[in-house]
């Protein structure tokens, strides 16, 4: 369906039918003091040539370093075919699939995405995606509060080792809903959830427990025990996971035998470029029992009036544009383009490919950590198994070390002191499959120099 704007004649004709003299009259309900005659601070327009030049100059100021930062967004190789296909007009500018008859292609892609996510997480159903991992966790918390009809406290146990941005976003989004986010500290020796702190909540009325895997420090939590604990307490469990790593780690649908109730996280590792922070896409999966409390879009497969199979948006009565203030969420969209790319990426790599990426990333980070322990005497800060990220204790302020490394073109990691008091000398490093042995050697060398001197 092409977009063809109205000609001036058509506009005049329509105004005549409506009985209005000019376009501005259609806005005369807006009080004059609220109308802007002119935008403030917006310079005059310039030509396409001038804009292109300006953008080229700006882009030239960006420097791309050798990237060893993870902390929620991961550099993985994206096969060229992914975006070659995703940027086809049919995918790139497809509209929201409200009208099923003209949107079967879009709906089918989303259905495939949902199927893949449900399989990766070992859950019954996935939605069509949310904005990102952080808001995904907020939505999961709100969903748990809605779903758990017997719990009265709206108390959510939130480990401090969950991604700081996810915790902050959740706090912002649930603050006005009377939801009690209780922070659970991490054990300073292991870096994983402090089990004594958890045990202190035994016997309480808890609505839900959030369980990250891995946690923000890259460490593996005892997810079987934690989800079983939540179940014993009559609380719902919310898993926050990296979908790429589910190709190797036990999926949340199988944690503790019976699995968790809600799974959320960030889909960026699946074929979405870093792009200075976004757009990314959040995923949300759950059990059939909670499907009606799931926020966001849901694509279903059905048959039409003639019995032919087709796809359609379903359970829309729970969405914001129909249920309004009582809707499952205010979101009535999804990250369509990111989902398309992620689906193509997963289809191209397949289960085997995803496994290899995860395994190689695991190996690279472990190789780097070993190298650093041998060459620079730098060791992991915590005494637990890590996956493809490791918190390293430098023995001196991490921010300053990272600045020196950046000056040599190496982005050395994320300084944990920014979010965790007491970890100012600790940096979080991530080496994915994109890092060659030469890259690891260079890191060790650059870090060695950065640690010398004052």
């Amino acid at each position: 369906m092409p977009f063809i704007p109205h000609t001036p004649e058509e506009v005049r004709e329509m105004l005549a039918v409506v009985g209005v003299g000019d376009l501005d009259s259609l806005f005369d309900e807006i009080p004059p003091e609220l109308r802007l005659a002119q935008f403030q601070g917006v310079p005059d327009g310039v030509s396409e040539m001038e804009v292109s030049r300006l953008m080229a100059e700006r882009a030239a100021r960006d420097r791309v370093g050798l990237n060893f930062v993870g902390a929620g967004a991961y550099e993985h190789h994206i096969p060229a075919a992914v975006w070659q296909i995703a940027t086809r007009g049919e995918y790139y500018t497809a509209y929201t699939p409200y009208q099923a008859e003209t949107s079967q292609g879009t709906l089918q892609v989303i259905y495939e995405y949902q199927s893949m996510m449900a399989e990766l997480t070992a859950m019954d159903v996935s939605n069509a995606s949310l904005y990102d991992g952080a808001s995904g966790l907020a939505e999961a918390v709100l969903m748990a509060v809605r779903s758990h009809r017997k719990s009265r406290t709206r108390r959510i146990l939130m480990p401090a080792a969950v991604h700081p941005a996810y915790r902050a976003t959740t706090e912002t989004l649930v603050r006005a809903q009377g939801i009690d986010l209780v922070s659970l500290p991490y054990d300073p020796r292991t870096g994983t959830l402090d089990r004594d702190a958890l045990a202190r909540h035994e016997g309480e009325d808890i609505t839900a427990v959030v369980i990250p895997q891995p946690n923000f420090f890259g460490l593996l939590e005892e997810v079987d025990e934690l989800s079983a604990w939540a179940r014993r307490q009559g609380a719902l469990s919310i898993a926050v996971v990296n979908p790429l790593l589910l190709s190797l780690l036990k999926p949340p649908g199988e944690w503790g035998g019976e699995g968790v109730d809600i799974v959320c996280g960030e889909g960026q590792p699946l074929g979405i470029p870093l792009s200075s922070g976004g757009p990314y896409c959040g995923f949300l999966c759950t059990r059939q029992a909670h499907v009606r409390q799931m926020p966001g879009r849901l694509v279903g497969r059905t048959v039409d009036a003639d019995g032919r199979p087709g796809f359609v948006l379903t359970l829309q009565a729970r969405e914001q544009h129909i249920r309004r203030s009582k809707a499952t969420s205010n979101i009535c969209t999804n990250q369509g383009l990111m989902v398309t790319a992620a689906t193509i990426h997963m289809a191209l790599l397949g289960a085997e490919g995803l496994e290899r990426v995860a395994a190689t990333s695991y190996r690279r980070t472990h190789q780097l950590v070993e190298m650093l322990a041998a060459q620079s005497g730098v060791r992991p800060a915590f005494d637990s198994e890590f996956f493809h990220e490791c918190a390293l204790r430098l023995g001196r302020p991490a921010e300053a070390v990272l600045e020196r490394m950046a000056a040599e073109g190496v982005l050395g990691g994320y300084p944990l002191g920014r979010d965790y008091p007491g970890l100012e000398d600790t940096l979080l490093v991530c080496a994915t499959e994109t890092k060659s042995p030469e890259d690891l050697a260079r890191y060790a060398e650059v870090l060695g120099r950065a640690l010398e001197g004052p």
Partner: protein
């Protein structure tokens, strides 16, 4: 015109109430309500054992085009729900006053039911809406 049995009481939010001999009351949605909603696909029941105040939302009836709250006509405690509707919610469309009953409640004060709308008042209400 939709069916409005004379012996029942009604709320402005289109629930009907039948006071039972044992002091409990049965609640459902009216013929008018099921017509407006269209084909019902799901019923979210109130929690048995939970207490609700007058006009408090205690459940949801969901059709393809809308998800509508069911309110408590008077304050009381929910004692039973019509589990059969889990598998066949369409019974509400077919028999809203009989097999389509949704839940039973023990009211705090059964006399409060008297101040609900009678059949004539409810008829006037829906006529005014149209």
């Amino acid at each position: 015109m939709s069916e409005i049995p004379e012996e029942l009481k009604y709320t402005k939010s289109h629930e009907w109430v039948l006071v039972n001999e044992d002091g409990t009351m049965t609640v459902g949605i009216t013929d008018h309500a099921q017509e407006l909603l269209g084909d019902l696909v799901f019923v979210e029941f109130p929690e048995v054992g939970n207490r609700y105040g007058t006009d408090e939302a205690c459940g949801v009836v969901e059709s393809v085009k809308a998800a509508s709250d069911i309110l408590a006509p008077v304050s009381g405690e929910v004692v039973e729900v019509n589990e059969a509707l889990s598998d066949t919610p369409e019974v509400i469309n077919q028999d809203p006053y009989g097999d389509g009953w949704i839940y039973k409640m023990r009211p705090d004060d059964v006399a409060e039911v008297d101040s609900l709308l009678d059949a004539e008042a409810y008829r006037a209400l829906i006529e005014a809406e149209e």
